[in-house]
């Protein structure tokens, strides 16, 4: 939190120094809305906290417009935003839109077209904010005509994290080569991943260290496990869009989908097989526990969300492996990397979210001003350091960010150079229901009640059924 304090201090001074030139514009633009209070809802994460603790206060000082940001849990945030927009109760002026829910919101016409709004109101169009400054992540929040409906506030990629100290350990290297016949290195293929996992579990046990070969986000009751399968494991095996055929919205092989096809089954079998090499808490691990396990030094490798990679690598108050973390692209099956590079697939998950404006908001113009404030290049660097997120192209080369990048094994550089290989969630308005239908079968596969093959057969059938019920399939 010393970091947060420093970034607050830094941003206040930087802001006043740098944005001095534009200050006047913001003051004038905000004049008509002085005294208004904007109400927003978002998740309680470091990027969200930075907004409410730093940016909102700066904005209020500058324009006299007050911002009240409710930070809450993941499910509550969704629920309240959706309720407000469904019922048009006009409670929130801006809401957090996670990348996977944007399609649902656009489909149901919940959000204000920001591009149009700005075009119609030149007085609130900020001179130092250009949507072209954003990374490609902003494309997720545009409609068919390229109009922006959400201003990105965070973006990360889910990467492969590994323990540099373990992988560079001389004894380990020798023993590995002796056992497997090739050199020990961060996994590029699944065969390697499994060998690494198997090896380190044994190695750690022999060395009497509390560590295992891999993390598994395998909570047997929480959707986090289904997400790891759908967002990360499947794509890297070549199963895209949850295995659902986007022409007829069917998932089972008989009906044209891939969810219970050969690749998907191989993927699930591989992943559940990793449980043998994972710490015991894997079966109770959601995204938070995976981060905690890795930070406690209990795993040699794993798939970890970008927002966790940052603090695991640098924050000594929360992590035991500071300075020992390596970051790299996740392993992929043969041909998948090429498919992704040519734009026909993807290798992993591009995570993140934006702020959007509900139609029922009573302060649309003031909110558009606020969202543009968040979209300025000037505020991005400190925000990036506080929250481990980047949404603007220019932020990558900011000296402060470069410094942190070096400490986290070039995570930001990786995101800049290979971000195009990753993709967000598929454009499914039925996202929540679809995933919930698949959940029970993944849980049972993890708990050993079903084989991976059975689980996927039943999951595919359940999805097909759901699609018919919701009216997407005939």
């Amino acid at each position: 939190m010393k970091k947060l304090f420093l970034s607050v201090f830094a941003s206040v001074t930087a802001l006043s120094a740098m944005a001095g030139g534009h200050d006047a514009w913001w003051k004038t633009a905000g004049q008509p809305y002085k005294g208004v209070t904007l109400q927003g809802v978002t998740e309680n994460t470091p990027p969200g906290q930075f907004v409410s603790e730093v940016l909102a206060k700066d904005f209020e000082e500058l324009t006299g417009i007050k911002v009240r940001l409710e930070t809450t849990s993941w499910d509550q945030m969704y629920d309240k935003a959706i309720k407000d927009m469904e019922a048009n109760t006009g409670i929130y002026d801006f809401v957090y839109i996670e990348q996977d829910i944007i399609y649902s919101y656009l489909d149901r016409d919940f959000l204000v077209n920001i591009s149009d709004g700005l075009a119609a109101n030149p007085k609130i169009k900020a001179p130092n904010v250009d949507f072209a400054d954003f990374t490609t992540f902003i494309n997720y929040f545009k409609n068919g005509e390229g109009d922006v409906f959400g201003v990105p506030m965070e973006a990360f990629i889910k990467v492969y994290l590994y323990r540099k100290d373990l992988f560079e350990n001389a004894e380990a290297k020798a023993a590995f080569r002796a056992q497997y016949g090739y050199g020990l290195e961060p996994a590029k293929t699944f065969g390697q991943y499994r060998d690494n996992a198997e090896f380190f579990t044994k190695f750690c046990a022999e060395q009497d260290m509390e560590c295992w070969g891999t993390t598994v986000q395998g909570h047997t009751g929480h959707p986090a496990s289904t997400y790891e399968v759908l967002e990360t494991i499947f794509p890297s095996f070549g199963v895209y869009n949850w295995g659902i055929n986007m022409d007829n919205y069917q998932a089972s092989v008989e009906n044209g989908g891939q969810l219970n096809g050969g690749r998907a089954k191989a993927a699930l079998r591989f992943w559940t097989g990793l449980l043998d090499f994972a710490p015991p808490e894997a079966l109770q691990s959601t995204w938070s526990e995976v981060g905690a396990s890795f930070a406690a030094g209990r795993a040699a490798q794993g798939w970890v969300y970008g927002e966790n990679a940052a603090w695991i690598a640098t924050d000594a108050e929360r992590s035991r492996v500071v300075g020992k973390v390596g970051v790299s692209l996740p392993p992929t099956a043969e041909g998948v990397m090429m498919q992704a590079a040519s734009g026909n697939g993807y290798i992993g998950y591009f995570d993140g979210g934006a702020f959007g404006i509900p139609h029922s908001s009573k302060n649309k113009e003031a909110t558009m001003l606020w969202l543009q404030y968040l979209g300025q290049n000037e505020v991005q660097a400190d925000w990036a350091i506080a929250g481990g997120r980047i949404t603007h192209k220019a932020t990558y080369s900011d000296p402060k960010v470069v410094e942190v990048d070096a400490k986290s094994d070039a995570y930001f550089t990786l995101m800049r150079d290979t971000g195009y290989l990753f993709a967000g969630a598929p454009p499914y308005p039925f996202h929540g229901a679809g995933r919930a239908a698949i959940d029970p079968f993944i849980f049972k596969a993890l708990a050993g009640e079903l084989t991976p093959e059975e689980a996927l057969d039943q999951a595919a059938a359940a999805v097909d059924e759901l699609m018919k019920e919701l009216g997407y399939a005939k």
């Binding site: 149901r108 710490p279 229901a433 029970p440």
Partner: protein, 294 residues
């Protein structure tokens, strides 16, 4: 009783007004919605009237019915232990013994820890790898405790947490009841030479029936729809083994957004609860009548 008939209604009116407005209106809404097919995530997010179809579907919905069955198992198991334990403890608190007030306060502590924190603390306590419980179970007994995998362990874990959390409620309420019992019957019984066991079964128990009913009903109602602590601990896992009805409905409404069907399930669960309570009411008041007949 002599007196104007209007007075009781004056006394009752604030209660009735609040309950009508804040209690009845939402209920009517849910009732109405249960006759519609409404899922905002569907191709059409309109509400379409389908009469009793949701309820017809319910009857064949194995997943949901299993959840209801699990809830009933859970509710009765926790009720049994909490009831027996709570009653014994309440009885023991009537007469003084060393440090009684101190023990009473400690006993009440679990009640004032928020359910979320109870769930969180027990999760931290029992999670494999970090928690003390699995660690000591393994070291001292060689027992592998991992409720992410073992359904039995998961079930008894959530039962245990509930007992820890809610037994004091039973104790306190029964204590309230015991303290208000009239003294006469006891004096007559002593004169007649009855022993403590007879006194308990023929005097105390029957007179306590109204309070017992309150306790049993409240615990039953609360555990049949329980969500918070279980969600923190197992989220319904492993698989769906601890997915109680409350969790199932919660996920249907919040995640899958089946508003219509979710409303129907809620009404159904409500109905089941009412039936069970009515059943118990009949049984327990017949015992009370037995006493009156003597």
């Amino acid at each position: 009783m002599v007196g104007s008939k209007r007075i009781p209604w004056y006394l009752l009116s604030p209660t009735i007004i609040i309950l009508l407005i804040v209690g009845l209106l939402p209920f009517i809404y849910v009732f109405i919605v249960s006759f519609y097919n409404w899922n905002p995530l569907g191709k059409s997010d309109e509400m379409t009237y389908i009469a009793g179809d949701n309820f017809r579907k319910l009857v064949f919905d194995d997943d949901f019915l299993l959840c209801v069955w699990r809830s009933i198992k859970y509710a009765f198991t926790t009720l049994f232990f909490e009831f027996v334990l709570g009653f014994l403890l309440a009885l023991s608190l009537r007469k003084s013994f060393p440090f009684r007030p101190f023990f009473r306060i400690i006993h009440t502590l679990p009640l004032v820890v928020a359910p979320i924190v109870v769930g969180a603390i027990f999760k931290l306590f029992t999670v494999s790898g970090f928690g003390p419980l699995p660690h000591f179970l393994k070291e001292w007994f060689g027992y592998k405790f991992n409720y992410g995998r073992d359904a039995e362990q998961a079930f008894w874990l959530i039962v245990g947490v509930d007992i820890w959390h809610w037994t004091p409620f039973v104790t306190l309420t029964l204590l309230a009841g015991l303290s208000a019992l009239p003294k006469d019957p006891y004096e007559s019984a002593k004169i007649d030479g009855a022993n403590p066991i007879q006194i308990f079964f023929h005097i105390t128990l029957p007179m306590m029936v109204p309070v017992l009913l309150v306790v049993v009903f409240i615990r039953l109602m609360d555990s049949l729809k329980a969500v918070d602590e279980i969600w923190m601990l197992t989220s319904g896992g492993p698989g769906v083994e601890t997915r109680l009805a409350g969790i199932h409905i919660w996920r249907s409404v919040f995640e899958s957004r089946f508003y219509g069907y979710g409303s129907a399930m809620s009404i159904f669960l409500l109905y089941i609860t009412i039936v069970i309570c009515w059943f118990l009411y009949v049984i327990m008041t017949s015992k009370q009548n037995q006493f009156h007949d003597k």
